[in-house]
């Protein structure tokens, strides 16, 4: 029992990101409303951004702006790792772009079917196909 508590507490950042990620995934799979699905997708992406941000953090370190330089040697343990944070700038931009495209699709779908519930859309598609004599 103590082992489990230890692993959970010591690596809490991983547990948080996995929980968030699964929440997002659950919403994408189980929710019926397209907007809720899209929100789930965004939570999913944000979880990974959090994961990256958390791995750059060090204990007793500060933001990666050099305070004083002693010759050429830089004490790397004194600064957070900026690289994962920089990578996430790109990932955030990508996430925003994906969200924008997804919402634009949602608007188009709403204009087309006058609903955002997936089961109603599928029902409309089915009746339309039956009318056209396909299937």
């Amino acid at each position: 029992m103590e082992d489990i508590v230890q692993t959970v507490v010591a690596k809490y950042n991983y547990w948080i990101y996995i929980t968030l990620m699964m929440l997002g995934l659950y919403a994408m799979i189980a929710k019926n409303n397209l907007i809720k699905k899209i929100v789930g997708m965004n939570i999913f992406q944000t979880a990974i951004i959090l994961f990256y941000v958390s791995i750059g953090v060090k204990k007793n370190a500060t933001i990666p702006i050099m305070q004083e330089v002693h010759g050429h040697a830089v004490n790397v343990a004194a600064y957070h790792n900026p690289l994962p944070h920089v990578l996430m700038l790109t990932a955030i931009v990508v996430g925003v772009a994906t969200l924008g495209v997804a919402l634009a699709f949602a608007i188009r779908i709403y204009n087309q079917y006058k609903t955002l519930e997936e089961d109603e859309i599928l029902a409309q598609i089915r009746t339309r196909e039956e009318q056209m004599g396909k299937i």
């Binding site: 999913f44 992406q45 990256y52």
Partner: protein
């Protein structure tokens, strides 16, 4: 100039995208020539860099002259050199072939369409050329985002909903890949593919490395529509416009297969992928299921374009299975099949594009008398179909031959059986189409089926030929000829390129 090929092949299409979107506001007539010029420069650079690679080995291009582990490098070796040429050629040919359909389908949106088209090519070429794991993720998303735009730009009213489903799956796939790269970064502290490969061997025991490998693979599979994750592909590709599906269907899945092979061969090395992580057998079985399911679902569809998309699902199974057989012949087959499958999928989708251009619908009931109506299109379609089935003079036969011999060598008889089964199903699939197109009279809508043996109707004596325009036929003919040519030169491709693409460690 020569030294900058690897950079040019990505930057020229990228920058041309901005020019095209500006030109779209000024005069729509300029969009198409600019796109053709950009992709032609890109294709020229791809061929140039492949020739350099064949002559003097891998070409390394340091962007901004930063040294490899710190800056981004473009690393072109025999593997991605070959894929680059295929990607750029397919994109260029489809661009030229689809000029008419694009003009007719969205005359108001030429600027946005061609902008996204060249961005898509930028992404695909960038994924292929880059030597940096995170850079690959960014380009993956560039490809995906422009792909969503292209797929949803269609007159079919179901395309948006199908594309939204693709968007969910594509995002999950890309995020998984990003997560895997994150784990790799934690253990190695590097994002450069070859740098990671050098650091990894001492860490093969680490659970994080295994997790990184599996997570990356799942992400790439979601993107390539490997069997349990294939649900998005058929609808998204079927309801897209001909121009978009002609670009995206041949290339996206193939480029993702390339990424998987790159993961196996370069980042994690074959020793790790086949010996440390014991997943190759289950993956080959998954591929077997993918092939069988793809074939069966293709049999069930009554629409030519949808049937072809299910065949793409089966073909993905071929390549994943071949790459995971764990021997040299199987890997050769998989790499060769990237080239061949890109060409033959392009061939059949260009043919479908011509059919859609003329008769608007690809449901089987509308294909009657098509051989009389469009003899050249259907002739090329037959060559493409022969290649997918695997009939000898065409290139599909040779890669299938390598895959089957690889399966026999690895003792994976289930894979061999699945390949043969799928070939037989393809015969049924395509001959059903040929039968409708050849023997059933032109669509005149009285009782389709063989209800009564009617006397030979007179109108057939005067076939009404109604072919697609020459600008669509010539590219199709070039691709169909290419299928046979690539088939005849398979030996040279393997001897001079594919042989060097596989590390010697893999026997």
């Amino acid at each position: 100039m020569n030294a900058h090929y690897p950079a040019l092949l990505v930057t020229v299409p990228l920058l041309s995208g901005f020019v095209i979107s500006t030109a779209g506001w000024l005069n729509k007539r300029f969009c198409f020539p600019i796109a053709v010029a950009a992709l032609a420069v890109s294709a020229f650079s791809c061929v140039g860099v492949l020739l350099q690679v064949i002559e003097q080995g891998a070409v390394i291009y340091k962007l901004g002259a930063w040294e490899p582990p710190f800056g981004i490098v473009y690393h072109v070796d025999h593997l991605n050199g070959l894929v680059l040429v295929v990607v750029s050629m397919v994109a260029l040919i489809n661009l030229i072939a689809s000029k008419r359909t694009v003009q007719e389908e969205f005359p108001e949106k030429l600027g946005p369409f061609y902008t996204m088209y060249v961005f898509m090519c930028t992404g695909l070429l960038g994924i292929t050329v880059t030597g940096d794991a995170f850079n690959l993720y960014v380009l993956l998303e560039i490809t995906a985002l422009s792909g969503y735009g292209l797929l949803s730009m269609s007159n079919n009213d179901r395309s948006t909903f199908a594309t939204l489903n693709y968007l969910y799956m594509g995002t999950i796939g890309a995020c998984f890949y990003l997560l895997g790269v994150g784990y790799l970064y934690i253990v190695t502290g590097s994002l450069n593919m070859r740098d990671i490969a050098q650091i990894l061997p001492s860490l093969y025991g680490s659970k994080a490395v295994v997790a990184a490998f599996i997570i990356c693979l799942v992400g790439v599979w979601a993107k390539m529509a490997f069997f349990p994750l294939h649900g998005w592909l058929p609808n998204a590709y079927t309801f897209a416009s001909s121009a978009a599906s002609g670009l995206i269907t041949p290339l996206v899945t193939k480029v993702m297969i390339y990424v998987m092979i790159r993961l196996i061969l370069t980042i994690f090395t074959p020793a790790f992928a086949f010996s440390v992580v014991l997943v190759s057998k289950p993956i080959v079985w998954l591929a077997v299921i993918a092939i069988v399911m793809g074939a069966v679902l293709a049999l069930a569809s009554r629409n030519l374009k949808k049937m072809l998309t299910y065949i793409v699902v089966a073909e993905v199974g071929y390549m994943v299975g071949g790459a995971w057989l764990g021997n040299r012949i199987g890997m050769t087959g998989a790499i060769l099949h990237i080239v061949n499958d890109a060409l033959m999928t392009l061939c059949v989708f260009l043919a479908v594009g011509n059919i859609v251009y003329k008769i608007k619908d690809t449901g089987f009931e509308n294909l009657q008398g098509l051989f009389r109506k469009m003899p050249f299109t259907m002739g090329a379609f037959v060559i493409g179909a022969m290649s997918i089935i695997g009939v000898p003079p065409t290139c599909g036969f040779f890669s299938k031959w390598y895959l089957i011999s690889g399966g026999l060598q690895a003792g994976q008889y289930g894979f061999v059986a699945a390949l043969l089964f799928s070939s037989l199903v393809s015969v049924v699939l395509f001959f059903r189409v040929f039968e409708i197109g050849f023997y059933e009279p032109l669509a005149d809508h009285h009782g389709h089926g063989h209800s009564a043996p009617q006397p030979e109707p007179q109108p057939q004596m005067h076939p009404m030929m109604d072919e697609a325009p020459v600008s669509m036929l010539v590219p199709l003919m070039v691709v169909a000829a290419g299928l046979v040519l690539v088939g005849m030169y398979t030996g040279d491709i393997v001897e001079h390129i594919v042989r060097f693409a596989i590390p010697n460690a893999l026997i």
